[in-house]
Symmetry: C2
Subunit: 265 residues, 2 copies
Amino acid sequence: MVSVVQAEAMLTIGRLASYAGVTIRAVRHYHQIGLLREPERDASGYRTYDAAAVVRLIRIRTLAEAGVPLARVRALLDADPETFTAATTEIDRQLRAQIRALQEHRRRIARLGCGDSLAVPEEVVDYLERLRAIGAPAALVEAERDAWILMAARWPAAIPAIMAEKVAQLANPAVVRLYQLIGRIAENWRDEELLRETADLMSELFEQAAASGELDRQDEIMPDAAFIRLMDSFADAAHPAVARLRELVAERGWTGWTRVERRDP
Amino acid sequence: MVSVVQAEAMLTIGRLASYAGVTIRAVRHYHQIGLLREPERDASGYRTYDAAAVVRLIRIRTLAEAGVPLARVRALLDADPETFTAATTEIDRQLRAQIRALQEHRRRIARLGCGDSLAVPEEVVDYLERLRAIGAPAALVEAERDAWILMAARWPAAIPAIMAEKVAQLANPAVVRLYQLIGRIAENWRDEELLRETADLMSELFEQAAASGELDRQDEIMPDAAFIRLMDSFADAAHPAVARLRELVAERGWTGWTRVERRDP
DNA sequence: ATGCGGGGTTGACGCTGCGTCAGGGTCAAG
DNA sequence: CTTGACCCTGACGCAGCGTCAACCCCGCAT
């Protein structure tokens, strides 16, 4: 008679799942990976569960919802209290790490949201703003942005110092004039007169930089010839005027572009 | 000549990946899903990348690391500022939700860590503690715990009220005596004398409960005959003495176990 | 008897974002 | 000529199920 009572109290997979608050598919998955014992079947092949299965399933669900990987759930369910406590401590550590990572993501997303700063460090964003402010053409600012993305990827640590220097340079009226000339080149890049004037100005600025020791510092900061060539080719690809300017500047005794050096005699 | 410079500045997939800070496998994956254009190949079939690919790859990485699903990255990379801002706002919402969920997990894990509260609501943990305190045998406490896991799964909202009632009952000296008798049954469950004494006491308690209207409230709280049968079968499975006690209690005019009713005449 | 709706059964593919073989070819250096 | 560090394609694997497909079973209304 007891067995009759039990038979009446048996559950189908659907009722088991709904009592435990999981999907039928999840229950079968747990069977597959051996988390939950396959129960007896009735005459027509249906799985027949008892109350103990509900309890075990709820335990599984509790751990799984707490973010415990199923592989660990198996061990945890049959663990002694000490092992269990140790494991939960460990899992809590992982959860904290995940939360920190997500918060970091939020910070980055927030930074992305404001302005064109996709993948660009803050200092560079600031510098680009100032470039726009002194009237540099939009296309140049975009090209600069991409170039600094590359630089920041290669030497992230050097970016703050370089940017500080760049921003300081913008106080130099000659530099401002340079960007204004570039603005005019953007409108008419076949004007040889204009290009020559710009090259003269650049040559002058390089002279100043050499005198202040800036060019030597560049060599220290960027000791990777292959990467410098990459940056140069990137500049060349940005606009045809760049190649012409490089020629003109070379005539005035300077080689390179990303990293400028006085040409050996 | 420009093309020679470009050729020299071309990158293999490995150098591209290292500049952008991703794995080679990731780059190939982005090719596969169309996030990054497949570049030209050299004579031996190697992919040859330019600097622009590095920039695009860094953009992809930035978004991906910020937790943006790759499917969205594709759209975001070419989006106008408004769409972009809207999307980042949306993504930030999702991140917040994820963080909240993980924090909830941490809370739960923390609760799991202390004591036997795996999947048991707090109120029940408290009640089980008190049961132990009055000397209930460990096996009974475990059985009770599992039974309350089931109850909490079926009627979570009712648990606080039920537990308050249960705790209050423990102030009744007769109830304390009941659990002490059960403790003795746990040691020798074939002692008919003891079982009879226990059944008498239970009958008496049921009488009190019926008088105070508790039994009627039970009917309201648990209107699910099939589930009640499940709980009963669970109790029967817990210990052979349960079945015998049910018989003896039935002789005294009570049917059921999880939900007790005066037997119809 | 028959049809219907709502259970159940197994099996297999899909999703994310790559990691990780397997089984090759290429390139520069010793 | 070998070695080691690259590159190539193709394919499986991972967690945790969701979601068909194609079929069986049961109770109820017709």
